[in-house]
C-alpha cells in the first residue's frame, strides 16, 4: 500500500515538475505574456468560455489544414469513395459515345448539294456541281464589290508590300498602318468618333457583347437575334430579357418591367443594353431605328446594333440603317457591321465613341487573342468604302433589283415573305398546312396581343409551330431544282439544336447590283415557276 502510494507520489511529483518546467519555458517565450493575459481575460472563471474558445481554435486549425484544391471532391455526400480496383473496373466498363455520328442520307445529300463555285465568285459563276454557268442569288455580293477590278488591283499592290499574313495579334506588332487607315475610313464613313476592326464578321458581335456586358448587367434582346449574338450573350453571363421579334411595343413593356423589378429590389445601377439587329439575319425584317433610339434614350439603355446585313446594303450610299432613317450613327452606342458582307472584303468592325473602342482593344477576346486581319483585306475594305461613297448608283441599282424581285415574288401565293421591302436579303417561308403561322390568321392576332410573353423566356407565348423537317425537305427540293435550271439559290442554313429558338426554314435570296435587272427578273421568274409547281 505504502509502496503504491509512494510510486503515485513520484508520478504526481514528476508531473508537477514537468508542468512547472513547461510553464517556465512558456514564460520564457517572447509574447507569452500577451497570450497569458488573453487566456485569463477570456476565461474569466468560466470554463464554458474556454471550451468555446477551444472549439473555435480547433475549427480554425481544421479549416487551415484542409486542402483547397480538393474542394469538389469533398463537396458533401456526392463523392463516392472507391478502391483502386473498383476504379479500374469502372474505367474498363465505361463505353463512351462515338465522337461524332456519321451523316445520315438526308444530311449527306444536302452536304453534297452545297453549291461549289469553279473560279471566282460573282454574278454569273460556273458551278462545280452542274458544270453550268448560273445566275447567282445566293452569295453575298450586294453592291457587286467582289468583282471590282480596282479593289483587286489595290489588294494586289498591298500584297506586294505587306505579304499575306499579319503574323501577330494586334497588341504585338500586328497593327499595320492599313488597319489603322481602314478603321479611320470606317469611322469617317459612318461619322463616329472611332472604329475597331475584327478579323471575322461572325466573331465580331459575339466578342463585342462579352467585352461590355458582365455578370449582373441587363441585356434586353430581340427574340430572333442571330446565333452570333446568342453566343455572345451566353459568354457574357448577363441577365437576359427578351422582347417579341421586331415589336417595339413589346420592347417598351419589357423595359418597363425591368425598371419595376429594379425598383422593387432596390439594386444598384447596373449597365443595361438593348441588343438587336438592323436587318435581321433570320428573316430580313428591319428595325425601326428612330423609335428604338427614342426608347433607349428614354429608359437610359445602351444600344448594341448589329448592322451586318444592313451596312453596305441600305441607305443612299450604303451607310446602313442610320443613313436610311437619317439618324446620327453616334446615337448608336456600339454599331457593329461586317466588312465581309457589306464591303466584300473580310472581317467586321465596331464603331462608336473613343471610350467604347479603346475599351475593346484590351477587353474583347476575339480582338486581343487573335492575329490581325491580312493587310491586303483591310486595304480592300478601305477601297470598298471609297467606292460606296463615290458611287451611290450601286445602291440605287441594288434597290431597283430588290423591287423587281419583290414584284415577282409577291404574286406567288404559296409563300410568305417576312423581309422588309428594302432588304436585299429576301427570305421565303412556305405557306404550307404544316404551319399554324399566326401571321396568316388575322383572327389569332387578337389573341396574341392579349397576353404578353414572359420576358425571361426566349420563347414567345404564341410562337408559330412548324414542321422543320418537312419544310426543309421541300425547300431543299426547290433549291436543287432551281440550281439545275441555272439559278443558284440557297436555303438559310442553320445548325439545328444549337440556337435558342429554332428559326423557321426559309430560302434566302441575296440580291446583287452586279446583276442586271433583266437577269434578276429572269432568275426570280424561274424560281417563281418552280415554286408554283412545287408548292400548292
Amino acid at each position: 500500500m505504502a509502496s503504491a502510494s509512494s510510486t503515485l507520489d513520484t508520478v504526481v511529483l514528476s508531473i508537477a515538475h514537468s508542468l512547472s518546467a513547461v510553464e517556465r519555458t512558456f514564460y520564457k517565450l517572447p509574447g507569452s505574456a500577451i497570450i497569458e493575459r488573453y487566456v485569463r481575460s477570456s476565461h474569466q472563471n468560466d470554463p464554458g468560455r474556454t471550451f468555446l474558445e477551444l472549439i473555435i481554435f480547433f475549427l480554425v486549425v481544421r479549416t487551415l489544414l484542409q486542402s483547397r484544391t480538393r474542394a469538389d471532391r469533398n463537396n458533401g455526400k456526392n463523392f463516392i469513395e472507391f478502391t483502386e480496383k473498383e476504379i479500374d473496373e469502372l474505367v474498363d466498363d465505361w463505353v463512351p459515345e462515338p465522337l461524332s455520328k456519321p451523316l445520315d442520307d438526308i444530311e449527306a445529300a444536302e452536304l453534297a448539294a452545297i453549291p461549289v463555285i469553279a473560279g471566282p465568285n460573282g454574278p454569273h459563276p460556273t458551278l462545280v456541281n452542274t458544270g453550268k454557268p448560273t445566275i447567282n442569288l445566293a452569295s453575298l455580293n450586294f453592291t457587286g464589290l467582289a468583282n471590282n477590278e480596282h479593289v483587286k488591283q489595290r489588294a494586289l499592290e498591298s500584297m506586294r508590300k505587306y505579304g499575306v499574313g499579319s503574323c501577330g495579334p494586334t497588341g504585338f506588332y500586328g497593327t499595320f498602318d492599313v488597319h489603322l487607315q481602314c478603321e479611320t475610313d470606317i469611322s469617317d464613313f459612318l461619322d463616329t468618333e472611332a472604329a475597331i476592326l475584327y478579323w471575322q464578321g461572325f466573331s465580331t458581335i459575339s466578342s463585342v457583347i462579352p467585352a461590355f456586358c458582365k455578370r449582373g448587367d441587363i441585356i434586353v434582346a430581340d427574340r430572333a437575334v442571330t446565333l452570333a449574338i446568342q453566343k455572345g450573350m451566353e459568354i457574357s453571363r448577363s441577365t437576359i430579357r427578351w422582347y417579341d421579334h421586331n415589336d417595339l411595343h413589346s420592347l417598351e413593356e419589357v423595359l418597363q418591367s425591368v425598371e419595376k423589378e429594379r425598383r422593387k429590389r432596390k439594386g444598384p445601377l447596373t449597365r443595361r443594353f438593348i441588343i438587336t439587329e438592323g436587318i435581321f439575319e433570320r428573316d430580313g425584317t428591319m428595325t425601326d431605328l428612330p423609335k428604338l433610339i427614342e426608347l433607349k434614350e428614354k429608359y437610359k439603355y445602351r444600344l448594341i446594333l448589329d448592322e451586318s446585313f444592313s451596312f453596305g446594303t441600305v441607305g443612299r450610299t450604303g451607310r446602313g440603317l442610320t443613313e436610311l432613317y437619317n439618324v446620327k450613327a453616334s446615337k448608336v452606342d456600339m454599331l457593329v457591321g461586317s466588312c465581309a458582307i457589306g464591303l466584300c472584303a473580310a472581317g467586321g468592325f465596331c464603331a462608336g465613341s473613343r471610350t467604347v473602342v479603346d475599351h475593346q482593344r484590351i477587353n474583347s477576346p476575339a480582338y486581343v487573342f487573335s492575329a490581325s486581319m491580312p493587310p491586303l483585306l483591310a486595304v480592300s475594305a478601305s477601297e470598298g468604302i471609297n467606292i460606296l461613297r463615290d458611287t451611290p448608283s450601286l445602291l440605287t441599282r441594288l434597290q431597283d433589283n430588290v423591287r423587281a424581285a419583290r414584284a415577282l415574288l409577291d404574286q406567288v401565293e404559296s409563300i410568305t415573305i417576312p423581309s422588309h421591302r428594302a432588304s436585299p436579303i429576301i427570305h421565303l417561308y412556305l405557306r404550307s398546312p404544316s404551319s399554324t403561322d399566326n401571321l396568316l390568321h388575322p383572327s389569332s392576332a387578337a389573341l396574341v396581343s392579349a397576353k404578353p410573353s414572359n420576358p425571361a423566356s426566349p420563347i414567345a407565348r404564341d410562337a408559330p409551330v412548324f414542321d422543320i423537317e418537312k419544310e426543309e425537305r421541300l425547300l431543299q427540293e426547290i433549291v436543287e431544282e432551281a440550281m439545275a435550271q441555272g439559278v443558284m439559290i440557297t436555303k438559310a442554313k442553320r445548325v439545328r439544336g444549337l440556337e435558342i429558338t429554332e428559326a423557321r426554314p426559309s430560302i434566302r435570296l441575296a440580291i446583287s447590283s452586279a446583276l442586271s435587272k433583266a437577269d434578276t427578273e429572269k432568275a426570280v421568274h424561274i424560281l417563281v415557276k418552280i415554286l408554283k409547281r412545287k408548292v400548292r
Binding site: 456526392n78 474505367v91 461524332s100 456519321p102 461549289v116 449597365r271 480592300s380
Partner: protein, 683 residues
C-alpha cells in the same frame, strides 16, 4: 535612335523604282538586282563604316504604284539589318529572298533537325526559381504600383472629376467600365503602353518597319510620326519565314488573286464555297496526315465555333490549365462540363481521369457521354510541349477523345514540319482531332480542323462557322496551298499513288539522321502530287522540290535550339522546350519589362520584343517572349544574345546557371553549333 526619330529621312537614303504591278519584274532581273546589291554590300563591309544615321525608311502609303525597292539598294547599313554578314553564297546558291524579309544564311552548319529521339522520355521542363530578393522586390513593386494607383484615383476623383466621368454613373447610365475592373488597365498597363499596339508597316518578316510614335501625356494618347525605324523582328509568329511579299509563294498568291478575286462572298454552306476551298482542305488534310480537314476563316473562331459541335451537355472536357482563350470560349459555348489539370502534368491528368470516370456526372452519377481532352501541341506563353506519347498511353486506357491544338506547333516542329505527331514519331491518326492555324508558320491566316471523314463532314454542317461565318478568302487560301506544298514538295510525275508513296518514303529516310534505330510510327505522307494542286500553281524549283522548305525547317530548329541554350548558358532563366521557337525569358520585376523593351529597341540594331505580364502570366513571372523564325540568320540570333547579355547585366536578370557554369557571350557565339547539338537529356 532617339535623335533620329525627330529628323525626317532624306530622300537620298532610299531609291524608288516605278514598276507597274500588273507586270512584275522577271525573276531573272530580280535576282541580278539582288546579287548586285550583295556585291555592293560586301564592298561596303570591307570599306570604312559609314557615319550616316541609323536607317529609317519612309514609304508613302498612298503612292501605291511605287514600291520601295528592297533595302539592299541602300548603301547605308549602320543598323546591320540590310545586308547579310554571314558566309556569302557559293556559285550554286542564289539569293531567292530579300534579306530584310528572309535572311540569307548559307552555312550548312547552322541547321538542325527537330525530332524527338525515339523511345527516350521527354525531357522534363524544370522551372528554375529566382532568388528570394527578386520575388520580394517584384511583390513590393506591384504593391507600390497598386497603392500609388489607388492614391491617384482617390485624389483624382476629388480634384479632377472630369477625367473620371466615364468611370462614374452619370445621367442615369451605369459606367461602361467600373473603376475596379479597369484599375489594372489604367494604373498598371498604361504605364507600359509603349510596349503594346505598336503600329508597323511592310512585311512582318525577319525585320519590321515600325511607325515611330511618341506620347505627350503619359500614354493617354499616342501620336504617330511619319518616320520609320527598321528593327530586327523577333516577335512575329513567322516560324517558317513565309511572311514574304516576294518569292514563289507571293507570285502564286498574285496568280490566285487574279483568278479568284479577293473575297469569297458568304459562308461556306450558303454560296461562299469555291473549288479552291475544297482543294485547300485536301492539301491541309494531306499535310497533317488525316483523312479530311475543314478550314475556318479565323484561327480564334476555329476553336470557338467547332468545339461546341464536338461536345454538348452530358460530356466532359478536360482542359490543360494553360489552354488558350479561344479554347475557353469554345468550351463555354458548348455547354459541356469542364475540369482542368495542372499544366502538362500527366500524373495529375491520370488522377483526374480516374476520378471523373469513376464518379460520373455530378449529382446524378450517370456515366459521361464522352470525354474530350483538349491540349495544345505547344503552349504560346511557356514554349512547353505536350507529352504526346504519355497522353496517347493514357488515351488507350481511359478511352477519352483527344483534341490537340497545334496552333503553334504545326509547321514549327518535327523533321517534316508536321507538328507534334511528327516530332514524337507517332501516327497522327491516333489523335482524334487535330486543330491548327495558318497564321504562325504559313504566313497566312485562319485555322483548320482535321480528323476522319465522318467527323469532318459532321463538323461542316454542325460547326457554326460553316453556316454563319464568312468563308476564308482566295488570297489566303493560295498562300496556304503554296506554302504547304513547298514544305511537302511537289511530285510532278503524274503516276500512280503507289509510286508517290515510295518516293515519299525515300525522301523521308534520306532526310532523317542515320543514327535512327527505332522505326518511327509516323508514316510520312510524302510529296504531294501536282494533280492535287491547282493546275495554274507553279512554284519555282527550289520551292517545288521541297529543298527550300526543308532548309527552312532546319534553320528554324537550329535557331530555336541556339537561342534557348544560348540564353541558358548566359545565365538567364528561360522556360519551355529547346526545340520550340517560342523562347520565354523570365524578367519578374514589372519595371524591368518596360526597360528591357526600350533598351532592346534603342540599340544600334533595334530589336523589337514582346513583353507579357499579368494577367497573361502569373503575377511574378513576367517575361519577354521571343519568337524565333527560319528567316533569322545565325548572326541575328547572335545579336539578340549579345543584346540580352548586355541588358541582362544592367537589369540583373541572370538568375539561372551559377556563375561558374556560365559561358561568356563570345564563347556562346563561337560554340553555337556545338551548343545546338547537345542531346536534350544531357543538357
Amino acid at each position: 535612335m532617339a535623335l533620329n526619330r525627330g529628323s525626317s529621312p532624306t530622300s537620298s537614303l532610299f531609291k524608288k523604282q516605278k514598276h507597274s504591278s500588273s507586270s512584275p519584274p522577271t525573276a531573272a532581273s530580280y535576282l541580278s538586282a539582288l546579287s548586285q546589291a550583295d556585291a555592293r554590300a560586301r564592298n561596303a563591309k570591307r570599306g570604312t563604316p559609314t557615319s550616316t544615321p541609323a536607317l529609317s525608311i519612309s514609304s508613302s502609303l498612298t503612292a501605291s504604284t511605287e514600291d520601295t525597292v528592297i533595302a539592299e539598294e541602300d548603301d547605308d547599313n549602320s543598323d546591320g539589318l540590310a545586308v547579310s554578314v554571314g558566309r556569302p553564297p557559293n556559285s550554286e546558291q542564289l539569293y531567292t529572298t530579300v534579306h530584310t524579309e528572309f535572311g540569307h544564311c548559307y552555312d550548312e552548319e547552322y541547321r538542325n533537325i527537330s525530332q524527338h529521339p525515339l523511345g527516350e522520355p521527354i525531357a522534363r521542363h524544370v522551372e528554375r526559381d529566382p532568388p528570394y530578393y527578386i520575388l520580394l522586390s517584384t511583390y513590393i513593386s506591384y504593391l507600390i504600383l497598386i497603392i500609388l494607383g489607388h492614391l491617384r484615383d482617390f485624389l483624382g476623383k476629388r480634384f479632377h472629376p472630369h477625367s473620371y466621368r466615364h468611370l462614374m454613373p452619370h445621367d442615369g447610365y451605369a459606367p461602361l467600365n467600373s473603376d475596379f475592373d479597369s484599375f489594372y488597365t489604367r494604373r498598371l498597363k498604361q504605364r507600359m503602353d509603349e510596349c503594346f499596339l505598336q503600329p508597323v508597316t511592310g512585311v512582318a518578316g525577319r525585320t519590321i518597319l515600325l511607325l515611330d510614335r511618341y506620347t505627350p501625356d503619359c500614354n493617354q494618347t499616342q501620336i504617330i510620326l511619319d518616320t520609320r525605324t527598321r528593327a530586327l523582328n523577333i516577335s512575329s509568329y513567322n516560324y517558317l519565314g513565309f511572311a514574304q511579299a516576294r518569292g514563289g509563294c507571293a507570285d502564286a498568291v498574285e496568280e490566285g488573286m487574279k483568278r479568284y478575286g479577293v473575297t469569297s462572298c458568304g459562308s461556306r454552306l450558303e454560296g461562299g464555297s469555291s473549288d479552291l476551298h475544297i482543294l485547300a482542305e485536301s492539301v491541309v488534310a494531306k499535310f497533317v496526315g488525316m483523312e479530311a480537314a475543314v478550314i475556318s476563316s479565323m484561327g480564334f473562331a476555329t476553336n470557338s465555333t467547332f468545339i461546341p459541335a464536338l461536345v454538348s451537355k452530358g460530356c466532359l472536357i478536360i482542359s490543360d490549365e494553360l489552354n488558350h482563350a479561344s479554347i475557353r470560349v469554345g468550351v463555354r459555348n458548348s455547354g459541356a462540363h469542364v475540369r482542368m489539370f495542372k499544366h502538362n502534368d500527366m500524373k495529375a491528368l491520370e488522377c483526374l481521369l480516374r476520378e471523373v470516370i469513376s464518379q460520373g456526372q455530378p449529382k446524378s452519377h450517370r456515366p459521361w457521354k464522352k470525354l474530350l481532352l483538349i491540349v495544345e501541341g505547344m503552349y504560346s506563353m511557356e514554349g512547353t510541349m505536350v507529352d504526346l506519347p504519355s497522353v496517347l498511353t493514357l488515351k488507350e486506357k481511359y478511352k477519352f477523345y483527344l483534341f490537340v491544338d497545334e496552333a503553334h506547333s504545326i509547321g514549327a516542329i518535327g523533321p517534316h514540319g508536321r507538328g507534334v505527331c511528327d516530332y514524337f514519331g507517332v501516327d497522327p491518326r491516333k489523335v482524334d482531332v487535330l486543330m491548327g492555324t495558318f497564321t504562325k508558320s504559313f504566313g497566312a491566316s485562319g485555322g483548320y480542323i482535321a480528323g476522319n471523314k465522318a467527323l469532318i463532314d459532321r463538323l461542316r454542317i454542325r460547326g457554326y462557322s460553316g453556316a454563319y461565318a464568312e468563308a476564308i478568302t482566295p488570297p489566303v487560301l493560295t498562300q496556304i496551298i503554296a506554302s504547304m506544298a513547298s514544305i511537302m514538295s511537289i511530285d510532278h510525275n503524274v503516276g500512280s499513288t503507289a509510286s508517290v508513296n515510295k518516293l515519299g518514303l525515300q525522301i523521308s529516310s534520306s532526310s532523317s539522321s542515320s543514327t535512327r534505330q527505332l522505326v518511327s510510327d509516323y508514316y510520312h505522307p510524302g510529296p504531294i502530287s501536282q494533280r492535287a494542286l491547282p493546275n495554274w500553281l507553279s512554284l519555282p524549283p527550289p520551292l517545288a522540290s521541297g529543298a527550300e522548305g526543308f532548309m527552312r525547317l532546319r534553320r528554324l530548329s537550329f535557331n530555336s535550339y541556339y537561342l534557348h541554350r544560348g540564353l541558358d548558358k548566359l545565365g538567364f532563366i528561360t522556360y519551355g522546350h529547346p526545340s520550340s521557337p517560342i523562347v520565354p525569358l523570365l524578367i519578374f520585376n514589372p519595371a524591368k519589362m518596360i526597360m528591357f523593351h526600350r533598351m532592346m529597341k534603342d540599340r544600334k540594331t533595334p530589336i523589337v520584343v514582346v513583353v507579357v505580364a499579368y494577367p497573361a502570366t502569373p503575377l511574378v513571372t513576367s517575361r519577354v517572349r521571343f519568337c524565333v523564325s527560319a528567316s533569322h540568320t545565325k548572326e541575328d540570333i547572335d545579336s539578340v544574345l549579345r543584346a540580352c547579355d548586355e541588358i541582362g547585366d544592367v537589369l540583373d536578370l541572370k538568375h539561372g546557371l551559377s556563375k561558374g557554369e556560365r559561358w561568356n557571350i563570345d564563347e556562346v557565339c563561337r560554340r553555337a553549333v556545338e551548343l545546338v547539338h547537345i542531346p536534350d537529356n544531357e543538357h
